[in-house]
Symmetry: C2
Subunit: 231 residues, 2 copies
């Protein structure tokens, strides 16, 4: 992790519209005064479950995973999030400690705001508070929904679902580089690394994707959609 040396402009920040739009200039300045930027590279842990929550975090760029380690030491990934998603909101009002760990899965830039500034803004600006409420519940809804989708499918359906997620939600393209290892894919969709690998290989053999290492090409989108819906 390193501190960003040139501070990004807030003018171009998606969160300006998503969240901070409803703040007065004065409130915005107060919140912004405590703002710091950090850059994490692939694999670095941004926050660990159990860490105390003293700040509000949002992603400027990059990709992170939200995950939790079970008592056997096995990680389970709850979600992948990109800039524009909210992550840290999830726990900050109900817990004093993070319930999940956050790690960068690619080079990621975050903004960190002192939690007290945010609380004060929520306290004095109810429109902002509602905005936060709205955004916060959306994060949780997304996690719950994806877990719901995953748990009703079996191996092939889960892989198909994951590929569609990357295609439609993350990259908006039929060609992309897998952002995570096959092991991590398994941790995300609750299956073993071996079966993840096998299933991807099978999709390749069947000609519905092409695959070279991490590079994936969606060749038969409709068929993958079919597998996601039935298998």
């Amino acid at each position: 992790m390193k501190t960003s040396n040139e501070i990004s402009s807030c003018k171009t920040c998606v969160y300006r519209k998503l969240l901070f739009d409803s703040l007065t200039d004065e409130e915005y300045l107060m919140v912004n005064k405590s703002r710091k930027e950090f850059i994490y590279s692939r694999g670095e842990i941004i926050r660990k479950e159990g860490d105390s929550i003293d700040s509000f975090i949002y992603l400027r760029s990059g990709l992170i995973k939200l995950y939790k380690t079970d008592k056997n030491g096995k990680d389970h990934i709850l979600s992948l999030n990109k800039s524009g998603d909210f992550i840290s909101l999830l726990s900050i009002f109900s817990n004093s400690e993070y319930k999940y760990s956050i790690a960068a899965v690619e080079e990621t830039k975050i903004c960190v705001i002192d939690l007290n500034s945010l609380r004060q803004a929520v306290d004095t600006n109810s429109k902002f508070a509602l905005r936060v409420l709205n955004r916060m519940s959306r994060v949780s809804d997304d996690i719950i929904e994806s877990q719901f989708e995953i748990r009703q499918r079996q191996v092939k359906g889960r892989i198909a679902y994951f590929l569609l997620f990357l295609t439609n939600k993350i990259y908006r393209s039929h060609e992309f580089r897998l952002p995570i290892t096959r092991r991590e894919i398994g941790e995300l969709i609750s299956m073993t690394t071996e079966n993840t690998i096998r299933t991807l290989s099978e999709f390749k053999k069947d000609g519905i994707i092409s695959m070279d290492g991490r590079t994936i090409n969606i060749l038969d989108y409709e068929r993958i959609k079919g597998i996601s819906n039935t298998g």
Copy 2:
């Protein structure tokens, strides 16, 4: 469903302390003016996914399930909730429609408040807004956590986990009546009805529970805990 004929006193309501404590008398009166009570019996659907959200609901007594139907028509239960838990908060600020269905699994009394009154209170009372924020994120956290716990276990561990949930969270007793059918247990912990039945029978045969129909007695709590932790 029927309208309650005698209105319960708010004096004894847990939500008075949990949530409405931070309202001024005036605000409370406004919120309370729109309040209505309804009683649902076992099996009745309180809200269906897709229904438009125009009210805020909380449980006065009873037990409900939050569930979602997949495209094959199979139900998946997300959580069981009792009085004191929040349910309707989950979506009301991020969606105009319910994302989950709510049904009574035993005789259940709910209070319904006009959503506009609540919104207005959030709008004018930031302390209340924070309280709502706090409560809301806790609901989601609970669902996400239980899904996390379920998905890392296999059949026996899931049943054990479910029995501990009833013992510790719902009934606070080692003896209770299963509130839901074995089919519903399967829908909650993602396994087939047959395997649910089989596993319960096995627990009975092994002497760690006694079971007569829906009546369960936890005979060897520690052993169940062990199974929940390892299997």
